[in-house]
């Protein structure tokens, strides 16, 4: 998929997931650089440890190139059915889920083979 298309699809799927619990606040932050990008989504829903763990597990599946470019294209296309984080997981470098004082933060890192999130010019 093209760069823009990937971002739109990923935002669609992660937003679908976040909106399932009807947050009163959601912030989407995108930091786009030449070799990679950082997508951060924050909401005001307090999730328990097991849900955070499950989210992180789904966002970091085994590397599956045979699935990412085919079934992965379904990410963000169905806004009515339940969201599926594994569709995102196949297309990103890694994803982190953390608890904030207000709710939950999801960090998605996407980039090429040369991509190194530590070299980002803007700090998290």
């Amino acid at each position: 998929m093209e760069h823009k298309e990937v971002i739109v699809h990923l935002i669609g799927e992660i937003t679908n997931y976040i909106m399932e619990q009807c947050p009163s606040r959601m912030v989407i932050s995108l930091h786009n650089e030449a070799d990679g990008l950082h997508l951060s989504v924050m909401d005001d829903i307090h999730r328990n440890d097991s849900e955070l763990k499950r989210m992180e597990h789904d966002l970091n599946p085994k590397v599956r190139p045979e699935l990412s470019e085919y079934y992965g294209t379904m990410a963000g296309t169905d806004a009515i059915s339940a969201a599926r984080l594994n569709l995102i997981g196949w297309q990103i470098k890694h994803g982190y889920v953390s608890r904030t004082t207000e709710g939950t933060k999801v960090d998605l890192w996407i980039g090429s083979d040369r991509f190194d999130s530590k070299k980002f010019t803007i700090k998290e």
């Binding site: 045979e66 699935l67 990412s68 085919y70 079934y71 294209t73 379904m74 169905d78 059915s81």
Partner: protein, 416 residues
């Protein structure tokens, strides 16, 4: 990559056993001459290779195709998992009626070209390439056009196969969005769609595309035993991988999943539980075929192999039975025989719609089964039998219909 992968090892063992069986059933020369008949046949639906080439020849074709499929996966550098296991079992199954190394190679090459054109690795389109072999008959049908010089016909057939392969990834990706993963045979849906255009073109230039059924009705002990033996093997391997307790727990976990694409049971639960599930589905299918008194013909074995394959990638006993019951109900109401080729294949392949029952429940699953039987005998005429996954095409149409209506209902319920 796959040296210690249980799915790869069990697939390779199945392929090797089928190869050995090919030469133990009939004299080698008979097998080879029968295989020549298979390779030169058009392979359109429904061409039972066990009748066209004999039991030995069909087993040789099946084992060669299975081996080539595993080789492609290995060369692509992909570890065998639910979807790739499903594709190998589907290739093995359809090599009983339509797929040969000669008619499928151009399609795989075409998908490879599409990957290169898109600047991607072949492994990104591997699944489309493997399932895309459903278009095999298009190559062999064109290669057998009467009135053309044989060399010209063969070259035309190969070229058309490559063109179809190049077109497939774009269609397969787009068609996924129509049913959003509720039809497990998505490449079949895509092939059927493209097949309508090609069949229309063929008939426009006066080519003959009437449907003929070549169906083996002779009992063969080897053909009857293949699926039950493979199923039992998978059950034993599955249990031995995980142990009895963990296998049963895993099997229960699988029954709770909707099966909507892409549901890789080997990843979501475990390879052992997935193989156990696959074996149980194969056994259940075999019991059904035996109980209605149907013969294990090439297409029936093909359908059962496909069910086994998708036992690791979307199908389980709980999401399959409503669709099966729907097809059976429609068969009996319409006065058709459950052992007739159309209804029997519709029942076995209709399990492509299992995710509808898994996600929306029993009644939509039943409805999907009924609609599938009604539609599937019509869709084969649209593409002239050039696409082997006719049930995948019909399943895609049914899944799109049910998905669209259910999404509309859900969306408007939420608004209220």
């Amino acid at each position: 990559m796959n040296n210690r992968n249980p799915l790869f090892i069990v697939s390779l063992i199945i392929v090797c056993i089928l190869f050995v069986l090919a030469f133990t059933t009939e004299p080698p020369l008979d097998v080879l001459s029968g295989y020549y008949n298979i390779l030169t046949h058009h392979g359109r639906l429904i061409s039972d290779f066990s009748s066209i080439g004999g039991v030995g020849a069909v087993l040789l074709n099946v084992s060669i195709m299975g081996f080539l499929g595993l080789l492609i996966i290995q060369l692509a550098g992909v570890s065998l998992s639910g979807p790739t296991f499903a594709s190998i079992m589907t290739i093995i199954g359809f090599s009983f009626f339509g797929k040969t190394p000669v008619n499928t190679a151009p399609i795989v090459f075409g998908v490879y070209l599409a990957a290169k054109l898109a600047g991607k690795s072949f492994k990104n389109y591997l699944i489309i390439a493997l399932f895309g072999t459903a278009f095999g008959p298009i190559t062999s049908y064109v290669a057998n056009i009467p009135g053309l010089h044989p060399l010209v016909a063969i070259l035309l057939g190969l070229l058309l196969g490559v063109i179809v392969g190049v077109l497939l990834p774009s269609l397969a990706i787009a068609m996924l969005r129509l049913h959003e993963g509720y039809n497990l045979y998505n490449v079949g849906f895509s092939c059927g769609f493209l097949g309508i255009f090609i069949a229309s073109l063929f008939t426009a230039v006066g080519m003959e595309l009437s449907i003929q059924v070549e169906w083996n009705t002779t009992f063969s002990l080897i053909l009857t035993a293949i699926i039950p033996v493979v199923s039992l093997t998978l059950i034993i391997v599955g249990i031995s991988l995980d142990g009895i307790k963990k296998s049963i727990a895993g099997l229960r976990a699988i029954q709770k999943l909707s099966g909507r694409l892409p549901a890789d049971f080997t990843d979501l639960v475990s390879p052992g539980a997935a193989l156990l599930n696959a074996g149980l589905l194969g056994l259940a299918g075999s019991i059904y075929v035996m109980s209605i008194g149907a013969v294990f013909s090439g297409p029936v074995i093909g359908a059962l192999f496909t069910i086994i394959g998708f036992g690791t990638f979307g199908k389980h006993l709980k999401n399959v039975w409503p669709v099966v019951l729907g097809v059976l109900t429609a068969t009996l109401i319409s006065g058709k025989s459950p052992t007739a080729p159309g209804p029997l294949l519709a029942l076995l392949f209709g399990t492509s719609l299992a995710p509808i029952a898994g996600e929306f429940g029993i009644v939509p699953g039943l409805l999907a089964g009924i609609l599938h039987l009604v539609l599937v005998e019509r869709t084969v005429i649209w593409h002239g039998g050039l696409v082997l996954y006719n049930n995948g095409f019909s399943g895609g149409l049914v899944a799109t219909f049910i998905f669209a209506v259910s999404e509309w209902i859900k969306a408007n319920k939420k608004k209220r």
